[in-house]
């Protein structure tokens, strides 16, 4: 970490998920000054919420640790957490950026001992677990948070709880009078890596996400699988906390649909195939647990097809070629009943399952139009490469619906483009 003053040879990276962190590190390791801005209290983004990622099925926290060590070692990278971009003015090679930093109420003396969380009584919904459970209002977002530093929720400031937290801290880390601050920086190029949000499942009315307890999203299943997640790593039905044994995955929930997201979100097919292996991981081989995947067509590209072949060989995973028409609820058991037509043979079905998982599509967290006026975006709001964008480059899921692998490639590409811009700035200054 450095305290060098940002100049117009600095690269600003917005968003510290896998794409932003990658772009920032690639640029910093090439010798460029980088300012990395993250809205939440920790880096990590969506990937940090995943239990495993495909196709190697390893834990994302492992890769995150590598990136965190790279960040620790990088002398040219400055990180702002709880910070958002307020305004960007200027042009390629010469941007003035205003960054608003929300108070964390905890300074760098924090050792993450957790004494403040023990002292505080108030609880808030846990954003890391998609609000599925609660966490103390003095909290660390998740075990691998970076920076390893607690944060106080603004709702307790001015209450007794805040005082209790301050008194509990032996290191003088809690500063209750911390205030919102604005920082003005210069930047030569901007990499926009604000990632994605799951599509609002309640908008897909026939699937009843807002009406039926046992209809959940794929991201919620990821959190359930995590041993430190809301269910302690068990797949429990929200209606009665019973272990779900018959699980249905509904593909293209929101994606490839003119009524919702017109694009293919690319990750959902592999995500459901991946999650089907969770079921065999959780339940013994002779159990009656089964998975059924309802799909229009399975889109696994390139070498990912091997993964699909492996899942297809599993007898406990059934594939039904059909976009589910609607879901109803069996009121007595709380089971979900999926209705539709199997287009291979035109068989009508009304299939009862314990749990329905919507393989939810992704939409950009910040639409291209909101990044800045004149930033080119496609119909879905993903940033498009365009000469009129100046030196603002989209990376990762801000630019396209991508899996982790391709998001990292996209981030590296964006870093290279940004480096070329600031190299141009340096050359001009040297020549003049």
């Amino acid at each position: 970490m450095t305290d060098a003053v940002p100049t117009n040879e600095t690269i600003l990276v917005v968003g510290a998920g896998i794409s932003g962190v990658t772009a920032a590190l690639e640029a910093a390791e090439c010798g460029k000054d980088v300012v990395l801005v993250e809205k939440s209290p920790s880096v990590g983004g969506r990937v940090a919420q995943l239990y495993k990622y495909f196709p190697k099925m390893c834990r994302p926290l492992c890769g995150q640790e590598i990136n965190q060590r790279r960040m620790d070692a990088s002398r040219r990278l400055r990180l702002y957490t709880m910070a958002e971009i307020e305004s960007v003015t200027g042009e390629a090679g010469n941007y003035d950026v205003s960054i608003r930093i929300r108070p964390r109420y905890v300074n760098e003396n924090c050792t993450a001992c957790g004494a403040c969380a023990d002292a505080v009584e108030a609880e808030i919904k846990n954003p890391h677990n998609l609000n599925l459970n609660a966490v103390k209002a003095a909290y660390i977002p998740y075990s691998m948070s970076y920076p390893q530093r607690y944060v106080l929720d603004p709702s307790i400031i001015g209450t007794d709880d805040a005082q209790k937290a301050k008194e509990a801290c032996q290191y003088g880390a809690i500063e209750l009078d911390m205030e919102e601050a604005t920082v003005e920086i210069k930047a030569g190029a901007i990499i926009w890596a604000t990632g994605w949000n799951p599509y609002d499942a309640a908008k897909i009315q026939p699937y009843g996400y807002d009406r039926y307890d046992n209809v959940i999203t794929s991201l919620e299943l990821e959190r359930m699988m995590d041993p430190s997640g809301p269910t302690g790593g068990r797949i429990l039905r929200p209606s009665d906390n019973r272990e779900a044994r018959s699980i249905a995955f509904i593909q293209c929930a929101g994606s490839r649909d003119q009524n919702h997201l017109s694009h293919c979100s690319r990750i959902c097919c592999m995500a459901s195939l991946k999650q089907s292996t969770y079921i065999s991981e959780k339940y013994s081989i002779d159990s009656d647990a089964t998975t059924t995947i309802y799909y229009i067509d399975i889109r696994t590209i390139d070498r990912l097809e091997d993964f699909q072949k492996r899942v297809q060989a599993d007898e406990k995973v059934r594939f039904i070629k059909s976009k589910v028409a609607n879901i109803t609820e069996d009121r007595i058991s709380g089971d979900v009943v999926l209705h539709g037509v199997n287009t291979e043979g035109y068989q009508r079905y009304d299939n009862q399952h314990d749990l329905a998982v919507l393989a939810i599509g992704m939409e950009p967290s910040v639409r291209a139009g909101a990044v800045g006026s004149g930033i080119a975006g496609d119909k879905s709001g993903f940033i498009q490469a365009d000469a009129n964008n100046g030196a603002i480059f989209g990376a990762g899921c801000a630019a396209n619906a991508l899996d982790v692998n391709r998001a990292v490639q996209s981030a590296t590409a964006a870093a290279l483009r940004a480096i070329q811009v600031v190299n141009g700035v340096a050359a001009t200054e040297a020549g003049s």
């Binding site: 026939p206 003119q258 976009k323 609607n326 539709g340 287009t343």
Partner: protein, 207 residues
Amino acid sequence: MNDNNTAMIDKYRNSFLREVEDNVEQGEWVKMCMQCGVCSGSCPFGPHWEHPPQELFMMIRAGKRDAVLGTESMWMCTSCYNCVVRCPREIPITHIMHGLANYAHRLGLAPKVNPTRRFAKIFWDNISKNGRVNETSLSIKLYFMDGYSAGVKRAVEMANTGLGMFRTKRLNPLALISYKGIENPKQLQSMLKKAREIEGRRKGYPG
């Protein structure tokens, strides 16, 4: 079978999809179907169709001309629009179903005894005669569609409903004797005739 049918077979040969695109209302959408099946699953009459919409679209693309135009399936559509609102490609399925039914009728391939087709014909004759629907004569024609005794039976079954409608002035028995439609129905009829001629010329129907 009629002359229109022979002319269309001559014109399109094996390309039934093109025939549908050129002649059926909204037929150009058929190629957009991605066979997800959400229309078939959403149809309240679904279990009673021989071929649900997405199967019909596949049959059109596969060139199954006789099977498509001769089926009763699209005559089952009640225009509830469930399929249209759920279709991920925004295909106007309901319109295509009616378009297919109408086209099959024009070619003389529609199933002769299909009740929807017969009702549609009674309705059309009724409305084109006066320019407005004469509901009294329409109901009587509908009741006696299957012969005199079936008509009497149906009328007796519905007697209470009919009386109720009469009492609330929803049904006027005098309309049987004199019904005033629009001012000059002859003009409407000549317009319809002209429109039919133009359509026939454009699409190449001899009859």
